[in-house]
């Protein structure tokens, strides 16, 4: 089991708010789970957090708790369901380049109309070699500020060409916006949010600006919940890559939390099982996500990631998601015969606790099938599913087994058998034997792997820059990038003595003179 703290007395709380369940754990300094609970996610998720906290803290000496980590789907769901998003003014500093593609051009119309209040592409931004594309058009920024308030925008998203390398124009634009609108008017700057790729970074910055209010209420709710249990402690949220940001940072950069759930689940499962390399299958109420851990971190997807139809360039875990979960609805075409069987993708979701047959509800779900087959115990009343047709149960289970075999095979990197970790509330659905898998493990406390993953998360720093190898040399360029990433991780709270480089990627830039190479480095370390 991994150790995350030296002081064995210090306790941490990890909470994960999923679509179906809210999980919480308390661990000690040695990484041991002291208490773990799972409660239903509530329509206002803060209620679920309150409930989970009340249960998980039962019997815990609260004076020993020093930190709390939250992983939440609030911001992601706000984007997907177009809920509670604020109107944003979009400012792009890149003209005369980039006029061929307007901000929000490829967005689904509903979210574009909802979020983008006004937009302007004005002169500014930089070239690949650091020269200005054009001097910053200060008057146009002032005009945008006036348009923003007139259009009822509540925040501004500023993106400049090549700002990850040259951020001066974005910073200057922010100063002017502060002069015009005051220091309290929120401004999101793209170089603080995303990496190279102007359109995707701009999209992420707009979403960030639209999510500030959601983030504020989540952080406020989280802190209020801790407060109501007498906990005045450091609070953190988990990011897409499974590392932490402080609650104060999360208020400013909510978009960085959009993909944290699967990462937490995979890293949590890995740590609980003491494995560094494994396929992880996380079965929830509605869906099953399969991913693979390499050296303790999820393999990242190379494809652009869409959130609610909006393309971003975050590095997210490479996942396959299928509609298979404990709440997945099973339809039996000709009652009782198993013919015309149709399974999912619809699910009763968190209502499985009341809707499933085995708890007296009226909907046949995969949880009922699992219970009837003897895979599930500790949930529902077996006598309520006794009457299910055997052929129906067998056919539904065969479908489940086939789906899980396919997703695990798709995730593997070679024919070599690897272990598989089954986690999540619906992990009972995963069979004990799977082709191409050396063994199926169900780590202790696996059903709260997400919350455990949040608990053990580290602080990190990343760098994404273009170097000229001819000018600075490859080794000194890489050293510079490593140093910048390490410094960023330490600034984010990592212990300077235990911070390490977790990934380093070099992408040679074709046709760029001087041995141009894009270098992406991430450093991470336990909290100091």
């Amino acid at each position: 089991m991994s150790t995350t703290e030296d002081q064995p007395g210090e306790h941490r709380i990890g909470i994960d708010v999923g679509g179906t369940n809210t999980d919480a754990v308390v661990i000690d300094g040695g990484g041991r789970v002291l208490t773990a609970v799972k409660v239903a996610t509530t329509p206002d998720p803060i209620d679920g957090i309150q409930g989970a906290l009340a249960e998980v803290l039962d019997g815990i000496d609260r004076t020993l708790v020093t930190k709390a980590m939250l992983g939440t789907t609030h911001p992601a769901n706000a984007v997907i369901q177009r809920r509670d998003l604020e109107k944003v003014a979009v400012l792009r500093l890149a003209a005369p380049s980039s006029l061929g593609v307007r901000p929000g051009a490829a967005w689904p119309i509903d979210i574009r109309d909802l979020v983008i209040g006004t937009a302007a592409i004005i002169e500014g931004g930089h070239e690949y070699d650091g020269r200005e594309i054009a001097p910053l058009d200060v008057d146009a920024i002032r005009r945008l500020a006036a348009d923003a308030t007139a259009a009822g925008c509540r925040s501004i998203a500023v993106s400049a060409a090549f700002s990850p390398a040259s951020n001066q124009h974005e910073l200057r634009a922010q100063e002017i916006l502060v002069e015009e609108l005051g220091a309290d008017f929120p401004v999101s700057l793209s170089h603080q949010v995303g990496s190279l790729g102007l359109l995707e970074r701009e999209n992420a910055t707009i979403l960030n600006a639209a999510l500030l209010q959601v983030a504020s209420s989540v952080v406020h709710g989280f802190e209020a919940a801790l407060d109501s249990h007498g906990l005045d402690i450091e609070s953190y949220l988990t990011q897409n890559d499974g590392t932490l940001m402080t609650a104060a940072e999360a208020r400013r950069f909510p978009v960085l939390t959009l993909g944290s759930g699967p990462t937490n689940s995979m890293r949590g499962a890995c740590a609980l099982a003491g494995l560094d390399d494994a396929v992880v299958v996380d079965v929830g109420g509605t869906s099953c996500d399969a991913g693979i851990l390499v050296d303790g971190f999820p393999r990242e997807s190379t494809a652009a990631v869409e959130v609610g139809g909006v393309r971003t360039n975050f590095r997210m875990p490479d996942l396959i998601s299928i509609g298979l979960g404990g709440g997945t609805i099973v339809r039996d075409g000709r009652a009782g015969t198993g013919d015309d069987l149709s399974i999912g993708p619809e699910s009763v979701g968190y209502a499985v606790a009341t809707e499933a047959r085995c708890v007296g509800g009226t909907t046949l779900t995969l949880s009922d099938i699992s219970l009837a087959a003897g895979r599930l115990d500790g949930f529902g009343d077996p006598t309520l599913v006794d009457a299910l047709d055997r052929a129906l149960v067998d056919d539904a289970l065969a479908w489940v087994d086939e789906q899980i075999t396919i997703v695990s095979e798709r995730m593997k990197s070679s024919r070599q058998p690897v272990p598989l970790l089954a986690v999540g509330g619906g992990a009972h659905l995963v069979p004990d034997r799977i082709q191409g898998i050396s063994e199926v493990q169900r780590p202790e406390h696996h059903s709260v792997a997400n919350a455990y993953g949040a608990c053990i998360a580290e602080a990190s720093g990343t760098v994404d820059r273009v170097y000229s190898y001819d000018e600075t040399g490859r080794e000194s360029s890489l050293d510079d990038a490593r140093e910048r990433a390490t410094d960023a991780a330490v600034r984010a709270g990592a212990d300077p003595d235990r911070v390490r480089i977790t990934t380093l990627t070099e992408v040679p830039m074709t046709y760029v003179p001087g041995g141009g190479c894009r270098v992406m480095v991430k450093a991470a370390g336990p909290l100091a």
Partner: protein, 355 residues
């Protein structure tokens, strides 16, 4: 095909990604630029060169620069028109139509935006019908047509016109200029008459690109018999289904070179090795070359059948490898010296695709 509308863009883009044969630049941004232009200026008429007066001037446009820079410095649209107008002014003749030079990758879609903006038709032809990394790698070079005079422009109003002694020099001068112009610029080269286009260009390339894109979309949609239909209509041959087990990337003299090793998904001991320089150039089945440039080596995602590009391929990707025949116009004297395996530095003979 009489005209291109905003509705054709998706099929064209999918076809262009496929014909990019692993490279050619991600057409995503070009798709957005073309879409915006077609929405703003309306559909673009598509013409065959033979239907234009033989002495009418046809001018090409393409983006020239570095794919990674284009991700930050999105085209303005105006730079393409600027290159065309600059070359037309030098030649003292107005263009009657715009033609793509490279139907494959992002250069497939950008000329459509230029044609829309200038109110000109687009010629259903090109000089590659796949992606290649250099200006001189065209059927026009084989026909002895010069790339110059040519114009290079940026979005700020800077323009230069070059007269060049040969097409390799055209490549060198254009590359030198764009380094100073920000590495995301426009070029208009190979100015020619409609008569020359009829005689020497690859005909019907845009229609071909839309067709393979539409056929591949049907495969992606899971239509009955779509995979067989896609292979048959493009004359493609399925060679291998495997998983990427090794990926060695390196960069030399500005090219992204890499070697991919695929292991058979069905568990046999066969492996496939693919040599890449921006585009996929040679595929070896157990050390035997089976697909060679200028035929196309296309990797498709095993599950979604999306074309997989060099930039995004990763360890563990599961792909189907197909060989697509290059345009028949390539098969003439000088082809192998210009775009055969040895032209890219491989000591490998060209092999025909099986019928």
């Amino acid at each position: 095909m009489d005209e291109l509308t905003a509705d054709d863009i998706e099929d064209l883009c999918l076809g262009a990604t496929l014909l990019g044969t692993g490279g050619g630049g991600d057409p995503y941004i070009a798709k957005l630029v073309a879409h915006q232009a077609l929405e703003e200026y309306g559909p673009v008429p598509v013409v065959n060169a033979a239907d234009l007066p033989p002495d009418a001037l046809v001018l090409t446009t393409a983006i020239i620069g570095a794919p990674t820079v284009i991700l930050e410095k999105i085209p303005a649209g105006t730079e393409f028109r600027a290159a065309v107008e600059s070359l037309a002014a030098y030649l003292g003749q107005e263009p009657a139509a715009i033609m793509p030079i490279e139907v494959g990758g992002l250069n497939t879609l950008l000329p459509i935006a230029t044609a829309a903006e200038m109110g000109l038709p687009i010629v259903n032809a090109d000089s590659m019908r796949r992606a290649f990394p250099q200006i001189e790698m065209t059927v026009f070079t084989l026909a002895g047509l010069p790339a110059g005079p040519m114009a290079v422009a940026d979005e700020k109003g800077n323009q230069c016109v070059f007269r060049t002694t040969n097409n390799q020099m055209a490549e060198t001068l254009a590359r030198t200029a764009v380094i100073q112009l920000g590495l995301a610029n426009s070029i208009s080269c190979y100015p020619m008459t409609a008569g020359q286009v009829t005689a020497h260009a690859i005909q019907d390339s845009l229609a071909y690109c839309v067709d393979v894109g539409r056929d591949l979309q049907a495969v992606k949609d899971g239509a009955d018999g779509a995979w067989e239909r896609f292979l048959a209509r493009s004359g493609s041959v399925e060679f291998f289904t495997g998983k990427v087990v090794d990926l060695d990337r390196r960069t030399t003299d500005g090219f992204a070179r890499s070697t991919l090793i695929l292991e058979d998904l069905d568990g046999s001991d066969q492996t496939m090795r693919i040599e890449v320089q921006n585009e996929n150039l040679i595929a070896f089945l157990d050390d035997e070359p089976v697909i060679t440039t200028p035929n196309l080596i296309c990797l498709l995602d095993h599950e979604t059948r999306d074309p997989v590009t060099t930039e995004y391929i990763a360890y563990g990707n599961r792909v189907v490898v197909i060989g697509m025949p290059c345009a028949p116009e390539w098969h003439q004297d000088g082809m192998l010296d210009l775009v055969g395996p040895k032209a890219f530095g491989y000591d490998v003979d060209f092999v025909e695709l099986p019928a």
